[in-house]
Amino acid sequence: MSAAPQKAKPGAEQIPVTVSAVVPLNDLVTRFEFKRRDGKPFPTFSGGAHTVVTMNDDGRTRLNPYSLMSDPSDTSTYAISVRRDDNGRGGSLFMHTRVNVGDEMTITYPVNLFSLDLRARKHLFFAGGIGITPFLSMIAQLELMNGNWELHYSVRTEALGSYVDELRYKFPNKVHVYYDDKSEAIPLEDLLDGQPLGTNAYVCGPKGMIDWIHATAESAGWPDAQVHSEEFLAPAPGKPFEVRLCKSDLTIQVGENESLLEAIERSGVEAPFLCRGGACGQCETNVVSYDGEFVHRDHWLDDEQHADGSKIMPCVSRFVGKSLELDR
């Protein structure tokens, strides 16, 4: 079994980068480009992948995922486009107001939760607003492979249509744009009806749009597996909490953006682990006492164990409440 577990960094691998360009596209959206600080090429990635950007916001760490929108085969630069969200948790505001060319940041290796089905005979893309970004890298990838695709892109106004001009210029026959302020709407039912067998549909945009496309496709008889969607991922925050480690006779604080396992490790206590993903069972830890509620996120413990509060998997799970004592 365990051959030679290595103490590696938790989470996805990190890449130290420098901001090489900040390009405002319109009132809401700005593009950020990155170069690697070590001068090596970036890893190539698959269309639809995202990276998680670490922001140091006056000592507070923010982790936000953004779709990679550059050409996946261009290993010299990564680019993301960020829409300013004045009511959000502050990550996009930080990017818009505080990040400048030359700044040093850290981003993760690409992670893809929205990939192309490469068996598809045709790829039908539906984008809403900033939801255009994953499609830009998908399109670049498909163009390289002579893939068959078509984009239907809905934007609020002409002024807010990020990348509309480039897309139309490069692919006049494949790109269709719809303006909300002109009351134009994607003719969804017609589009879904006229597709060749083996077409896959992809949607990225606001939740309402995603639901609309899933529902319409379903009632038009599309198999669920042929309709793919990505909602913008919000970082899964966890409130800070305090833990008593009984065996080690220590009380530690778990920060917002670290796992319980990382906090235990930070305090110098050896804790077993393998996968750091809630699957392998290695980090299983007995709960001595608690007053509050667990936020179980692992795939290891069964429902009963989740309910009875006897164990926790510190690599992924958290706690909200007054007190928690662990047998560690």
């Binding site: 079994m1 996805a12 996946p72 690409p110 992670v111 893809n112 490469l118 996968c275 392998c280």
Partner: protein
């Protein structure tokens, strides 16, 4: 480090052998005196120097002869290598991963020179010096997956990831422990694991799949699996069962130490960048019982593991009939002393066999 490549065969006269170096670095799979299936995955980011865990793709003294054996298997049965049409991009990903890893990890054996998509690949042990255009299949003698896996030890399954599931949509499989790519092609993770006893009920495959779906670029993982093989055969496929199955009946107490081999698979998992597919290299290591028991700790432990292994596992792994004879042999190397935890030989601290 330069490697002296063995002149050896995995068929007919079975001249396969392990040097002292290969014996000491053998991936002994038992970290304690008993064995049961578990979700035994860990990160694959190096390991002790000189161990089989150190490099992304371990190259050892068997490299050249294993590649010759693969060539023979493929000449007999081309269906050992298959790739469904949508997996070509994953094949290029795999070619890049192996070429980059090997040229970085073994610069004296492999060189990769890249100028945009114009690539030159030099494989000194196999005497290959090829120039080709990356992503252009017409510039290689085989498809990209076949081309590179004819130059890489171990089997390779390339899994497409769709609908929260892995699909066996491509592979190069010539050194397998009694399963067939031609049978499994197009199957999903649960379907191809159907014959495995007990593990389904233990919830192992459900958890393993969740873990695998989350393996990310730049963060590969690994696990070990093992079985038993009579004679150092790489190709123990169902297709050829009529040839090797019968050899299990040739064991005698006298020849067992030389003929009976522990077969260990170092299985690794890498996310592929362009295709988002997962590659699952299965690297097979063989060691004869007589070589294995030269490490006192391993001799003691193997006896205990084989003795206490549940019947279901010994049956599935195909050695239930020979188990009594194996135990007679192994018991001579178990003096009952305790063993140190972990898989490594611990030659400096573990006592020699007493009595």
């Amino acid at each position: 480090m330069t490697i002296q490549f063995n002149e050896e065969t995995f068929r007919d006269d079975y001249s396969f052998y392990n040097s002292d170096w290969a014996i000491k670095r053998f991936p002994f799979p038992f970290h304690e005196d008993s064995y049961m299936y578990s979700v035994n995955m860990e990160q694959h980011r190096g390991g002790p120097k000189g161990s089989v865990y150190e490099m992304r793709f371990d190259v050892d003294e068997h490299y050249v002869s294993e590649m010759k054996d693969r060539e023979l298997v493929l000449a007999d049965d081309p269906l050992r290598c298959q790739s469904l049409p949508h997996m070509t991009l994953a094949g290029w990903d795999l070619l890049e991963l192996i070429m980059v890893s090997k040229s970085e990890d073994y610069p004296d054996l492999f060189e990769l020179h890249r100028d945009g998509n114009h690539w030159r690949w030099i494989n000194k042990p196999l005497g290959i010096d090829d120039t080709f255009t990356f992503l252009d299949e017409t510039t290689l003698p085989y498809g990209p997956m076949e081309y590179i896996t004819r130059q890489a030890q171990g089997d390779f399954c390339v899994l497409d990831q769709r609908d929260e599931m892995l699909w066996m949509d491509a592979g190069m499989v010539t050194t397998q422990a009694d399963w067939s790519l031609d049978f499994d092609i197009g199957m999903n993770f649960f379907e191809w694991h159907a014959p495995v006893p007990l593990a389904h009920e233990m919830g192992i495959f459900k958890r393993a799949l969740k873990f695998l779906l989350n393996v990310q670029q730049g963060a590969p993982a690994r696990r070990l699996n093992w079985t038993m093989t009579v004679n150092p055969l790489l190709d123990t496929s169902p297709e050829n069962y009529h040839k090797w199955g019968i050899q299990k009946t040739t064991l005698t107490p006298e020849n067992l130490g030389a003929k009976q081999h522990l077969r260990v698979e170092l299985q690794t998992f890498f996310r592929l960048p362009r295709s988002n597919a997962l590659v699952f290299p299965i690297r097979c290591y063989l060691i004869s019982f007589q070589d294995l028991v030269t490490i006192p700790k391993w001799g003691r432990r193997l006896h205990r593991v084989v003795r206490d292994l549940p019947v279901e596992l010994a049956t599935y792994k195909g050695f239930i009939d020979n188990r009594p004879m194996m135990l007679d042999y192994l018991s001579k190397f178990d003096d009952g002393l305790p063993t140190s935890p972990g898989v490594f030989p611990d030659l400096d601290t573990e006592p020699p066999l007493s009595g």
